[in-house]
Subunit: 77 residues, 2 copies
């Protein structure tokens, strides 16, 4: 099983999400990559399907983009 | 420590994210709430700060909205 990777770019939202993810998953289970600093990994992130940051690459290769999906207004209908 | 809660509304993206979250955190550590079906919990979710779904409420009360943040174009600058 591949490791979980958390891609971020150092913004306050990213850092806050990083702490939350580490608390949830455990620091030994997630690699933190700051693509704002380590720009050599931007291409890898894009190839994995990262379209925005922060994003979490799960062990099965899915990308969870963290921060905006369907609005509550849409859910309420 | 409060439990992690995953709020979603039954959409395909939500279900996919639900499986990923359960795999990462463990099903015993996260409560899954479908506010599309269990509409009585919409108010609780909004009070917790959920603005879109899928969203993850972490044990410390932070809300991670899953799906769109800063674009890669922004990161690249």
């Amino acid at each position: 099983m591949s490791k979980t990777i958390f891609y971020h770019a150092g913004c306050p939202v990213c850092i806050s999400a990083e702490h939350d993810i580490i608390n949830l998953v455990g620091s030994e289970n997630v690699e933190i990559v700051n693509i704002g600093l380590d720009r050599s990994r931007i291409q890898e992130a894009e190839k994995a399907g990262v379209e925005s940051v922060p994003a979490l690459r799960t062990p099965n290769g899915n990308i969870l983009h963290i921060n905006f999906g369907a609005s509550m207004a849409d859910v309420k209908g």
